[in-house]
Symmetry: C2
Subunit: 145 residues, 2 copies
Amino acid sequence: MAEIRIRAVEAEDGDNGFFKILSQLTHAPVVPRAKFAELVRKERADGSRTTIVAVTAEGSVVATGAVMMEHKYIRGGGICGHIEDIVVDSEFRKAQLGKKIISKLVEISREKGCYKVILDCAEDNAPFYEKCGFEKKECQMALYF
Amino acid sequence: MAEIRIRAVEAEDGDNGFFKILSQLTHAPVVPRAKFAELVRKERADGSRTTIVAVTAEGSVVATGAVMMEHKYIRGGGICGHIEDIVVDSEFRKAQLGKKIISKLVEISREKGCYKVILDCAEDNAPFYEKCGFEKKECQMALYF
């Protein structure tokens, strides 16, 4: 694991397996280079989201996750962190990489002044997140267009 | 109900009962006027969030809700709408105001091109959201700082 580094996503990661990793989670076709670079630039510029990647020494993306900052009107204008789109390459799941990704996103949320950080997960993954310090709260509802 | 109007939040709503309504949901002290005006200005300018309010003919806020736009890297750079902080004044809960607020936020999400809209709610409120077209998906986990 010594050779795995966690850092913020870069526009070049589009060519380093970023979308291949995301495809292990859901439908994630490659975003055209210019649009991807713009999304990465935007999240850095306005701080609305921090997407991180775990990369090997060779530069291949083997895990990713993101935390989005929600500026609320409750809690005196408090910030809620939303962890989204966590995925670890199936070949790296034994290396506690998931835990490291979550730990980094929680740390970022704390540094940005969030009063809480939340995420939605499948029931089966709840024990993993409990080990990361989370507790079950509500139920997630979805409406697909 | 004819006299209830639903519209985007305005900086003046801070003086019209907006925080009193939010306090029925959770800890929601009044956000100082300048900070509140800046938050309202920001959400309008960048489209990151749309907060709506239901107001009486006299201008009092009696319900509110918001939808936040999450620009993802999955789904070809798709947008997920997050519905947040829904609250209807206890005296107006029989008037289907909650359903109207949700319906408006779903409509906004659709217009903004979201591929889905999600929300977290207490188990007891799931039947209400099912009537609004949502289905139960995952479980929400939270970590409070």
